[in-house]
Symmetry: C2
């Protein structure tokens, strides 16, 4: 039983703080967006030092449950569920995640997300989705702007899927992938074709064709992967060989 002892379940004090806040969350005493007491007050009321209180808060902040704003206060996260974006990235540095593995994960998550969206999305989602498609076509000559709407499009699908857990997982993988993408030059791949695919996906979702939406999304991502691979091959900005001094070839940031 409880073979716990895992990573860092927090020592007494920290755990005490985490559990307290957690119970406040579960009992509804603390609502999303709400501000928690100031560290000094809270620490006094919990009978722990401010340092320990902070350890607990940081722990919860690290996993996106709390949001700390210097000079203002600490608040309960309010937006959609979201894990720490950096986690997968840092973890990748440790375990040597390969790009194809991230793509594979994303492919699975996102295709199902699209399928679910086709079954559950509501009018409000259709509107938002179509709007992003329009914006994509409009920004077809501006890669950076196009990317914004691209990301938004996928994010809306996540919401429309009705499963915040899958959406959060996808977001985690996706952002890690995005970070990796920024290292390569702003891809100027065929945006028109990409936009067309997004439109097709949108239509499938709107028509409630789950399997088709899933298939199209898979197709779309496979294409995105191959084109990014191509760029990676053309501009080997990776860091596989030796860990030579940081030759930040940060030049061309375009725009």
């Amino acid at each position: 039983m409880a073979e716990n002892k895992r990573a860092n379940p927090e020592s007494y004090r920290t755990m005490q703080v985490v559990n307290h806040i957690r119970s406040l969350l579960e009992s509804g005493a603390l609502q999303p967006g709400e501000k928690i007491p100031s560290e000094r007050d809270f620490a006094r009321s919990l009978k722990v030092s401010r340092a320990s209180l902070r350890t607990g808060i940081n722990y919860l902040a690290a996993m996106g449950v709390l949001k700390v704003r210097h000079g203002v206060g600490t608040f309960v996260a309010d937006g959609p569920a979201e894990f720490d974006k950096a986690s997968l990235s840092i973890m990748g540095a440790l375990h040597g995640f390969q790009p194809w593995q991230m793509f594979e994960a994303r492919l699975i998550l996102e295709s199902h997300l699209a399928g679910l969206a086709a079954e559950r999305s509501r009018p409000e989602h259709y509107t938002a989705l179509s709007e992003e498609v329009v914006e994509m076509f409009a920004a077809i000559d501006c890669p950076s702007e196009y990317l914004v709407h691209d990301v938004l499009f996928h994010r809306i699908i996540s919401q429309a899927s009705g499963n915040p857990i899958l959406a959060a997982l996808m977001e985690t993988v996706s952002s890690a992938l995005y970070e990796d993408r920024r290292k390569t030059v702003e891809h100027s791949l065929d945006l028109r074709e990409s936009a067309e695919m997004h439109r097709a996906i949108y239509r499938a979702i709107r028509a409630g064709k789950a399997s088709e939406a899933r298939r199209l999304m898979e197709q779309h991502l496979h294409l995105a992967e191959s084109s990014q691979d191509k760029e990676r091959a053309a501009a080997p900005v990776s860091e596989p060989p030796p860990a030579r001094s940081r030759k930040s070839s940060s030049g061309t940031k375009s725009r």
Copy 2:
């Protein structure tokens, strides 16, 4: 650019610590399982206070990159990639994740994991897998022990899938689900049937039949979900109202 500022990207000092350790990881200067300098020394060498150093360490520990052992030292995680198990659980308390959403996420992840395992698993995995199946049949009268091997079986599949990212995500969802399960009575559902299904999945994987493995896994999980739902309905041992039906749990558990 970088409209970041989000959650808790760490303030200067903490970020400094995190980035430093991260670079050590990426450059390979720090290997998994290795011990990092003591807080006092490390803090001095980084020119930051021990408090700040600790904030950074805790941050990394919170996401499973570091493992802190009181009285011993802090080490780089060495096992398979693994996110903080508690995160999804606590997040569920905040965003009100529903059990069916967790099942849905698990279903998608695990079925694909099985499919991938069928394509990539190697002999060593076959052995481990079959062994767990045997153990399951042996523990068919002991739910608690059965569960151990059940979990192990699924975990081996995750490894065999060859995608540590998906495995880690699955583990996160799964453990949250497991925690939820512990609240209900040890399910005494039809273990024999369950064991049979595991064997079938094992065979499909060994035979390299990806789609079949995926299908069987889906079937298995659907069944697991429905039976757990049944228990949940039969024994509302949740914690909202008076948890009655409790066999001689004499007295109030006030504390």
